[in-house]
């Protein structure tokens, strides 16, 4: 009995303390807001926002609601985080492996890269890419075509837009290809486990991915045309490209800064993961006759991944939260659009800041949940 009291009393007190503090803060905020005649409420979300946003993944104009402006900001945040996470992962793996290379030049270049990009504050890097690097780009009328049809200019990167006919047929074919690859992989695993036979799964998968969608073009009535950006005159000296898709320089600068910065941390996670697999594993694998490629793929990487995933998850979360620095260079993310313009126009500080905080919390928890699921999947399974 005495033990139970000892065990629970501090916990109950702690909970009480937290509740009291939150209660006090809420009450205090409420009285102060009452004194100043400020109403608390989320009714503003359905009001007309009456401001425009530079770049949006969904249809949006000033006559839409604040709720839709929130969605525009959220999608822009997710877009920049998603692209940056993919790029920083690819770069991070390459650099991390390069740091372990026996080639002096490769090894040291990778080390320099890591030390350089991770030791300069991220905000400075964002400013560098936006104000220094991208500003050196040509004006639209002077831009040379990259790959014949894309134009990198100071006003953004203009790429052709795809115009699809019967896109859904194409997507079904793609889906069919992916499903058959999964089935094939399962079959191959089974074959390997029971009969010890190896099938070149990768080769077949690539073939499936190419052939099935190709068939949809031939027989499914699918067609694809490209709308190529064309130069348009705005005034005597000012031009833009019309048609196609325009990626704003703010997005490009932000993706560059975020992915280069975070890739250094991912690289260190990868290096630590690979170095964490004992040397004996590699030697044992080699001695049973596996090729160096197989050693890396079948023995080292599966074990290294278990060490790499948890700290890399942290880096993904950091990247997503760091994307809020977008406001400094006018990229319309959640913070700029919602916690910036919308907040200043409505004056609903408490409501908007809490919505924004909850949103970031939800994004972070979702990323963590996905990575935890992946981590569970690859961890050692006791049989």
């Amino acid at each position: 009995m005495n033990n139970i009291i000892k065990k629970f009393i501090p916990q109950i007190l702690a909970i009480l303390f937290v509740v009291l503090i939150f209660g006090f803060l809420t009450l205090n905020a409420q009285t102060n807001m009452d004194n100043r005649g400020i109403d608390f409420g989320f009714g503003f979300l359905s009001q007309e926002s009456s401001f425009d946003v530079q770049f949006s993944l969904i249809e949006y104009s000033g006559s839409d609601s604040y709720a839709r402006a929130f969605l525009v900001g959220l999608l822009n945040t997710l877009l920049v985080s998603f692209i940056s996470i993919i790029i920083c992962t690819i770069l991070g793996v390459i650099i991390g492996v390069a740091r372990l290379s026996s080639n002096y030049l490769i090894k040291n270049s990778a080390a320099w890269y890591v030390e350089f990009f991770r030791n300069i504050p991220l905000l400075l890097q964002i400013f560098f890419w936006y104000y220094a690097a991208l500003r050196a780009l040509p004006m639209p009328e002077k831009a040379n075509a990259w790959f014949g049809v894309t134009y990198m200019t100071v006003k953004g990167y203009y790429i052709p837009a795809m115009v699809w006919q019967n896109l859904n047929v194409f997507l079904y074919c793609g889906l069919a290809a992916i499903i058959s690859i999964i089935l094939l992989k399962n079959y191959a695993n089974k074959l390997r486990d029971t009969q010890g036979k190896q099938i070149p799964v990768l080769l077949y998968s690539v073939a499936l991915l190419i052939v099935l969608p190709l068939l949809s073009f031939l027989f499914g009535g699918v067609s694809l045309e490209f709308e190529i950006p064309e130069l348009k005159k705005l005034s005597k000296i000012s031009y833009i490209y019309e048609g196609g898709i325009s990626l704003p320089p703010e997005l490009i600068a932000l993706v560059l800064a975020l992915s280069l910065y975070t890739s250094t941390f991912v690289a260190e996670c990868v290096r630590a993961g690979i170095e964490g697999v004992t040397k004996g594993q590699k030697e044992a694998a080699a001695s049973v006759g596996l090729t160096p490629n197989q050693v890396l793929k079948l023995v080292i990487m599966p074990q290294a991944l278990r060490i790499i995933i948890p700290p890399t998850t942290n880096q993904y979360l950091n990247l997503t939260k760091n994307s809020s620095l977008a406001a400094a260079i006018a990229y319309p993310d959640l913070v700029l659009v919602f916690a910036g313009t919308a907040l200043m126009q409505t004056g609903k500080a408490i409501e908007i800041v809490s919505i924004t905080m909850l949103t970031y919390l939800t994004i972070s928890l979702t990323i963590a949940a996905i990575m935890n699921w992946y981590n569970k999947k690859i961890e050692i399974k006791e049989k």
Binding site: K155, K236, A328, I329, L336
Partner: protein
């Protein structure tokens, strides 16, 4: 027993009401802010963090500008010395809190007079010392001479969280032009982005455009378009609740404007004492008892004109001669085709 308590409370309440009224009437005759200012020996004035022509400090910390001159006029009127002002540079976000919390006594910081600001947050606007409006700046070489020539796809640089963002949308929507808003948090970032060619045009208050233009790498290559798309009356603000102080600030500004109207300036003010025109004599303290209403002496307005000058002098010194806005536009006297019009001092 219960009855007695009830009676007692009603007596106390009556006294409370009486006391409240008596302090009210006291405040009407005397200004607490004026008293404190005299005791302190200087006027506390909130200004911008550096907007050429309006409020800007040089390397040695001397403040100049037409917003600064309003505070100097109040110092000349109340303390007899226009230099006795302590300037507090404030950001757009801090300005109203600094005034309502009593950190400053006048906010003279190119602040737009709007209904919600006047009625909502415990402030009182005393007048307008600059009639402004939102405009557009473009490159001269573009050949654009009016806002009607903007085409679909024009990119526009501006500041975050101001009325500018809303005016801009109203303007382009009404014209049916699609545009790309590029919105920055700080004014310097907007200037840098526009300068680098990121945007075809830069929009904010016209006075702001004229002042920021001087920060561009080649100011002469840029021009502000003639159209104005919004009303932005800028003026000094005081705290609500001290109506005498409010009157002092209002009439200090009005004195500067009316002095120009009657041709009184810093060099001829003393001679004007012998003028035949009673209106002029009132403005230099040679007739009437105008200062007594505020609890000031009779030379209060003469000191403003002698030490700070009339509105025209202030405008010329700070805005015209510095090349920001040589043309006075709406900020010309009503007698000369502008809209500067103040009630008579009598």
């Amino acid at each position: 027993m219960f009855k007695i308590i009830k009676q007692l409370t009603s007596v106390v309440a009556m006294f409370a009401v009486l006391f409240a009224f008596s302090t009210e009437t006291m405040a009407a005759k005397k200004s607490k802010t004026l008293e404190n200012t005299k005791k302190r020996g200087f006027v506390r004035c909130g200004v911008s963090q550096g907007l050429p022509g309006f409020s800007n400090a040089d390397e040695s910390g001397n403040w100049t500008g037409i917003d600064v001159d309003v505070c100097r006029a109040v110092a000349a009127a109340t303390l007899g010395d226009a230099t006795k002002v302590k300037f507090t540079p404030l950001s757009a976000k801090e300005r109203f809190t600094a005034l309502t919390s009593g950190e400053i006594d006048i906010l003279s910081r190119n602040t737009t007079w709007t209904l919600s600001r006047d009625a909502d947050i415990g402030l009182t606007f005393v007048g307008v010392n600059f009639y402004d409006g939102q405009g557009f700046m473009v490159r001269k070489g573009s050949g654009i001479s009016s806002t009607g020539e903007f085409k679909n796809g024009t990119s526009v640089c501006t500041n975050l969280g101001t009325t500018t963002e809303l005016n801009m949308r109203d303007f382009f929507d009404s014209k049916g032009i699609s545009y790309e808003p590029v919105v920055f948090e700080k004014a310097d970032e907007v200037v840098a982005a526009y300068d680098a060619g990121r945007c075809d045009t830069y929009t904010t208050d016209k006075s702001g455009l004229a002042a920021q233009r001087t920060k561009l790498s080649a100011p002469d290559d840029h021009v502000v378009l003639p159209e104005t798309i919004s009303k932005e009356p800028l003026g000094p603000v005081v705290r609500q609740g001290d109506s005498v102080w409010e009157d002092i600030v209002r009439w200090s500004l009005n004195t500067m404007i009316e002095a120009e109207e009657y041709g009184i300036n810093s060099s001829n003010a003393d001679m004007m004492k012998t003028s035949n025109n009673p209106a002029i004599k009132r403005l230099v303290g040679a007739e009437g008892e105008l200062g007594a209403a505020f609890g000031l002496d009779n030379d209060w307005n003469l000191r403003i004109i002698k030490q700070v000058g009339n509105y025209g002098e202030s405008y010329k010194r700070n805005i015209a001669d510095t090349g920001i806005l040589p043309d006075r536009g709406p900020n010309e006297l009503w007698t000369k085709g502008g809209i500067l019009y103040v009630p008579p001092a009598r």
